[in-house]
């Protein structure tokens, strides 16, 4: 069992296969302490995320860092942010170590891309 865990830890970042939105929904479960698809919580809502400018939901209390990040959420920026939120946007209130596995990030992004408002 430990060997299986070790193998997961050792997977190279480029090991991603085709993105799987269904698995992305499972990965999204990790976000549910702070996020929801259709309402703002500790973090902003995620429906319609892809294509949105960071810090752009009216009335949500973003960190100054996020507001000035000049990011627009697409596959590339989401992948970078989700890999290491605090490094990508220093000062973000998304104080989370990130999703280190590239395949899981791709799956999560595939899921988020399907979530229209």
């Amino acid at each position: 069992m430990l060997r299986a865990a070790a193998l997961v830890l050792l997977l190279p970042a480029g090991a991603a296969a085709a993105a799987d939105a269904k698995n992305g929904e499972e990965v999204y479960g990790r976000c549910l302490a702070c996020h929801a698809l259709n309402s703002d919580r500790v973090g902003p809502r995620h429906c319609g995320l892809v294509g949105r400018r960071a810090g752009a939901i009216p009335g949500f209390d973003y960190s100054a860092a996020m507001k000035r990040s000049r990011l627009t959420w697409n596959e590339k920026t989401l992948d970078r942010f989700l890999a290491d939120p605090m490094k990508t946007v220093p000062g973000t209130t998304m104080t989370y170590a990130g999703v280190p596995d590239a395949k899981e990030r791709a799956d999560l992004i595939a899921y988020l891309k399907k979530q229209a408002c």
Binding site: R30, C34, V42, T93, T95, Y96, A97
Partner: protein, 188 residues
């Protein structure tokens, strides 16, 4: 009581019970505070405070969510008591997080006046339990994602202590739903 004061769960509980109402003198807070967290640089304290405040915001929302569940009229007696117990844990987490933020010189976030929960989708006890289980599962991941970020190892340890509590909530809720309470050997 401060988050930094948690040396072991029994002590934390004793302290909480003894300090119900959280009327702690500044001297007591200083005595209870972990040395490594207080000795951190101001930049490190600022980062740790930010992590704690995010956790505090989530805990305050969890308290509100359990209140919605309790007031829904959908929870039957044994389950309702369990939900209230879990809400009590989240209140304890929030109190300790807020006290710790203050100890570090930060300003704890306050509870929002209004939270938005998917109440229209809550039609049965199972719906409420599934909603709560989702929050608890997210909380496990959130603390897991916070543990390695703290500059202070005291704070990492304390966050791991809360993580364990959230994981137990998640398992019990899954069990109540008829799901495998512990679906895997690792959490992520």
């Amino acid at each position: 009581m401060s988050f930094l004061s948690i040396r072991n769960p029994a002590q934390a509980r004793r302290l909480f019970l003894a300090r119900s109402g959280l009327v702690l003198s500044g001297a007591a807070v200083a005595l209870l505070a972990g040395r490594d967290a207080l000795a951190a640089t101001s930049k490190e304290k600022g980062s740790d405070t930010r992590i704690l405040n995010t956790a505090l915001a989530a805990e305050l929302e969890a308290v509100a969510a359990y209140q919605v569940g309790a007031e829904s009229g959908l929870l039957q007696k044994p389950v309702l008591a369990l939900a209230m117990q879990f809400q009590g844990h989240h209140k304890e987490h929030a109190e300790v997080l807020a006290r710790t933020i203050q100890t570090l010189g930060g300003k704890p976030v306050a509870a929002k006046d209004k939270y938005t929960f998917p109440v229209e989708g809550l039609k049965s006890q199972a719906d409420v339990l599934r909603f709560a289980a989702g929050l608890e599962r997210g909380a496990v991941s959130a603390y897991l994602g916070a543990v390695p970020l703290f500059a202070s190892r005291d704070l990492s340890k304390a966050a791991a202590s809360i993580l364990g509590d959230e994981a137990m909530h998640w398992a019990v809720l899954r069990n109540a739903l008829g799901d495998n309470p512990v679906p895997s050997a690792f959490v992520s």
